[in-house]
Symmetry: C2
Subunit: 291 residues, 2 copies
């Protein structure tokens, strides 16, 4: 019995620790974060998998409550923004964390390279069109941060424009927060060595070849530039109402548990309530019985 | 061991039986189908739950393969259309069947009453905008069939217009099939008594009040008209490339297993293949090792 209690209490304690263990800051250093570490969590892979099931169930219940509250007019919604180098595990987060939530309560969008029509507009134009409505958990697989990451590393936009965008992003996300959106920004932080191992697996397995792109190796040549761009972007856009969390991602089980926990904590902070009936329950019971 | 083998072979045999056991026809009679029956399936609730887990896993794998094939140019996609009276379990299908598939491979849309802008256009206009792209499983929670169901029962459109729509739907769905869409249309068939019991539960539980709408009871008064409208719509639009399946839904576990199985069979018929590498694997391994 004491063993059971222990395992039950584990997600709660990580729940308390996760935000502060993972939050970035205006002067954080990406190089100081070990991609194979498990900040705030004392369990191992096996307990992490068990805890993920428990947090997933919690997430599902909280999201249903968020959705129910929205039907009665509550405006709250959540937006999870996922950014990472290739193979860091965005897909696994969507599958194993977001997959625990009722699909009816999720609005997922994967941003690819902009189309010609999108490229003509301001970089936030296409982002605006994918925002979640009340009651939803929105998930961005990549986002407007590409416009200050790959654009910076590859020189796709002038330096002044990149500079302008940090401010534009802060203004944009402040508006989201004003409109009852809880914004959670996650960088999955993988090491260059772990990426090599994951790319090697894609090359080994014929059922993974479709996920491999030779350009992924070109990106490795400018790895340090990407890390610099991430560090700068996170420092410049880490805001109280739109915080960044840097999640070590060399251990997939940890990254999944961490993101699930951050999401669940965000929903608990909203504390959505089941709406009260806007009809006379006794009267409807009589009508139903007679029908 | 023989017991294990038996339980493993069960989904396979239902897989073989499901389509023919559930398919409608141009002269089928809805009244002849018992909503509490389990056509084609010999197991019980417990085995049904186990089999759903197995079919769900299969569905997830098949969808990943469909998605992978689409990245290499394969045009195939699947569209599942769900229609039913309230409380019949559309939401449960989405949660428990579609929830087994990677959210990245699903395009779900719930059609509500048309907006003013939508109502001005042809009834298929808003449908067209929600079709799944290559590699996706599209799911319609309600659909263009509302325009020949509630519109007929409640007289929201003239009889001639309803009549025109059956043909327009057949033309539209034939075009979908031409464009490599496997269309599966499901009516979840619940009994009026079972609906009363489910509505009563919504009235009993405070966490279910938000799902109850007094108008649901008004709809019960024209139950027979709805059954007639369903029967006519299904007869008139049951086509070889866009078949209807009438799934008895008084037992939730059966309806979920049946829809999961119909979907899995559709994907197996497509038989999507992992794409071959479009790069030199050995060369990329060398590049990766050096990176």
């Amino acid at each position: 019995m004491s063993k059971k209690q222990k395992s039950k209490s584990r997600p709660v304690s990580f729940a308390d620790a996760a935000r502060s263990a993972l939050a970035a800051s205006a002067d954080f250093e990406l190089g100081a974060i070990d991609p194979s570490s498990t900040p705030g969590y004392t369990g191992d892979k096996a307990s992490g998998a068990r805890d993920l099931v428990a947090v997933g169930r919690e997430l599902g219940e909280l999201q249903e409550r968020l959705f129910a509250a929205s039907r009665a007019g509550a405006p709250q919604k959540v937006l999870l923004i996922l950014q990472a180098m290739d193979t860091a595990g965005k897909g696994g987060i969507v599958r194993h964390v977001i997959g625990a939530v009722d699909p009816q309560g999720v609005k997922l969008h994967a941003f690819k390279a902009p189309t010609a029509a999108e490229a003509k507009r301001d970089f936030l134009w296409r982002i605006n069109k994918q925002l979640p409505g009340p009651g939803f958990i929105g998930v961005f697989d990549r986002s407007h941060y590409e416009d200050v990451l790959i654009h910076k590393v590859r020189g796709l936009s002038p330096a002044e424009e990149i500079e302008r965008r940090y401010g534009a992003i802060n203004d944009f996300e402040a508006q989201l927060a004003d409109k009852d959106t809880t914004v959670i920004k996650v960088m999955l932080h993988i090491s260059k060595d772990e990426q090599r191992a994951r790319l090697a697996e894609r090359l080994e397995r014929e059922d993974k070849h479709w996920k491999f792109n030779p350009a992924d190796i070109d990106e490795r040549e400018v790895w340090a530039d990407y890390m610099d761009a991430y560090e700068t972007a996170i420092r410049r856009t880490h805001m109280p109402d739109a915080p960044w969390f840097v999640v070590p991602a060399d251990r997939k089980w940890y990254a999944r548990l961490a993101v699930a926990t951050l999401l669940a904590e965000a929903l608990k902070a909203i504390d959505p309530q089941w709406p009260a009936a806007d009809f006379d329950v006794a009267e409807q019971k009589r009508r139903l019985a007679a029908s």
